[in-house]
């Protein structure tokens, strides 16, 4: 396996506050990596830094061997990254237009094909394809955000909590869809709290206070005390 994404001692923060402290991480081609960590551990910040939305204050980020640390988000996304943000959509644009933007670099025909697949998966979106995204419910927005990221067809997709706020019926569906995506050779880095996602992951990292506390395969994580503590609260009181 070759490394697609290499994160080397990355530091980042907001204003005077430093959030990430020398984060190391690797995502191999076709691999699905889960990013765990309690509230405020720095998961969102890491994903934003990787895609270039947050300036990298130290360290390096490499995509397929190329150093992309100095590139803007547009250049990184052109090189095959995609990012699903926690809450973002284009509120005054229609659902269809939002999806089209997800496949910003693709041809019209290709975008249409991918959009149909998305509508299949989320009939609620199909129903409202002409409505403004700003009128959607919280969960529908989430679906749109996810669909938008999947529209990109990127090699390396970052997802920030794709299942939060989704009804169980859709969580199951999302997992099934992601299995398909993974089968297609896409690499995923998913920050997620829903245990159900563990079944997708090859490996995972646990973040703690902006540092990588634990890393390992799914099995290793499942048996890690630190993960249990942070994640399931086992021994949290003790």
């Amino acid at each position: 396996m070759s490394a697609l994404l290499e994160v080397d001692k990355v530091e980042a923060g907001y204003g005077a506050v430093q959030v990430l402290w020398g984060c190391d991480m690797v995502v191999n081609k076709g691999e699905t990596v889960l990013l765990l960590g309690v509230n405020g551990a720095g998961k969102t910040t890491l994903l934003r830094t990787l895609v270039g939305l947050q300036p990298c204050r130290g360290g390096a980020i490499r995509l397929a061997g190329e150093d992309v640390t100095g590139l803007g988000p547009d250049a990184r996304i052109r090189r095959g990254m995609a990012y699903m943000s926690e809450l973002g959509v284009f509120p005054t644009l229609s659902i269809a237009e939002n999806l089209r933007l997800g496949a910003y670099g693709a041809s019209n025909a290709e975008a249409r094909r991918r959009a149909e697949a998305m509508y299949q998966m989320f009939p609620a979106l199909a129903q409202k394809r002409r409505s403004a995204a700003g009128s959607l419910s919280g969960g529908q927005r989430k679906m749109l955000g996810l669909a938008k990221a999947l529209m990109s067809g990127a090699e390396m997709i970052f997802m920030d909590e794709p299942s939060s706020g989704l009804a169980p019926v859709f969580v199951t569906q999302v997992i099934e869809t992601l299995k398909g995506v993974i089968g297609g050779g896409t690499s995923l880095l998913i920050a997620e709290q829903n245990i159900a996602f563990l079944e997708l992951a090859d490996r995972g990292y646990l973040m703690d206070h902006g540092k990588m506390a634990v890393s390992g395969t799914r099995a290793e994580l499942e048996s890690s005390d630190a993960v249990r503590r942070a994640y399931f609260g086992v021994g949290a009181e003790g």
């Binding site: 988000p73 959509v89 403004a132 700003g134």
Partner: protein, 294 residues
């Protein structure tokens, strides 16, 4: 009475279309970058002086002012954009900061025009745009009005096509809708915005070419008024939508001309009264989309 009414309506339509062009550049700059371009009117005037200079110094047809406006917008717009806008956007309240900055810019442009051309009014000969009249529904209007309206329609439709049919235009609308998400989607926000900025200036300059015709003359210092009227028009039509601005222009033009025909001294109330009434009825403008707040 009937004839007067028809004349006022046809005149108002032409005049309004022209004002749609005057305002549409502001719409783009305000809609995409959230820049309150208080210097908009000054850019319009620059276009007018450019056409005047071409016509008097080089003996060219003032319509060459249109490509000159585009060229000028590129030459002024890109450096200006990169010099000030990214800095603005990084600040805490870009919209409000732009207010001060572009106020200062308006002063500079006004001063430069005054120093370069003096305070005098400048007009252009009618013959350059035909010099005759064209009648529609039996109502004759000067050729220059038709040319201006024609160019305005082409420009606004062109902008509409740009925004709805091209990738860059699509990206532009995405930035208008949510700047952060546009970054996250991989749009080269700065480049797309810079292009929108330049197009906005070019449209302002292009409108300026016709100011000596539809306003009798161009002079430094008339920019304020154009800026204010443009803001009114674009809010009537709603932010971000060029067709809305065209519509806002029409509402303004026809309203003003009807008022001018029957109660001339109150005619400049029209755009403002319309604006207030329309936004109170539809707080997002005639063409705006509402989004939920909870």
């Amino acid at each position: 009475m009937q004839a007067l009414l028809e004349y006022a309506i046809v005149g108002g339509v032409l005049y309004g279309i022209f004002f749609g062009l005057v305002a549409v550049g502001l719409n783009l700059i305000f809609g995409v970058m959230r820049i309150i371009n208080l210097a908009h009117g000054e850019f319009v005037i620059l276009g007018g002086f450019g056409a005047y200079w071409l016509s008097t110094s080089l003996g060219l047809n003032p319509l060459w002012g249109l490509p000159l406006a585009a060229l000028g917008a590129v030459v002024i717009g890109f450096p200006l954009y990169y010099a000030v806008v990214p800095g603005l956007q990084r600040s805490r309240d870009p919209e409000m900061l732009s207010f001060i900055l572009f106020f200062g810019l308006a002063q500079i442009i006004d001063a430069i025009i005054s120093l370069g051309f003096g305070p005098d009014q400048r007009s252009l000969p009618d013959e350059a745009l035909g010099g005759g009249t064209i009648s529609v529904l039996g109502q004759a209007f000067p050729d220059s009005w038709w040319v201006a309206a024609g160019v305005a329609i082409l420009a606004i439709m062109g902008l509409w096509l740009y925004l709805t049919r091209t990738r860059l235009g699509f990206a532009t609308r995405a930035i208008m809708a949510n700047r952060d998400e546009a970054f996250a989607t991989g749009i080269a926000v700065d480049r797309v915005s810079a292009i929108a900025f330049v197009i906005g200036l070019a449209l302002a300059g292009a409108a300026g070419v016709f100011v000596p015709y539809l306003q009798g003359s161009v002079a430094p210092g008339i920019g304020n008024n154009l800026t204010t009227t443009s803001f009114a028009i674009l809010i009537i039509g709603s932010l971000g939508n060029p067709v809305g601005t065209l519509f806002g222009g029409l509402v303004f033009g026809v309203g003003s001309m009807l008022m001018q025909t029957f109660y001339a001294s109150w005619s400049d109330l029209v755009p403002y009264v319309l604006l207030v009434v329309i936004v109170l009825l539809r707080p997002q403008g005639l063409f705006g989309k509402a989004v939920r707040n909870a």
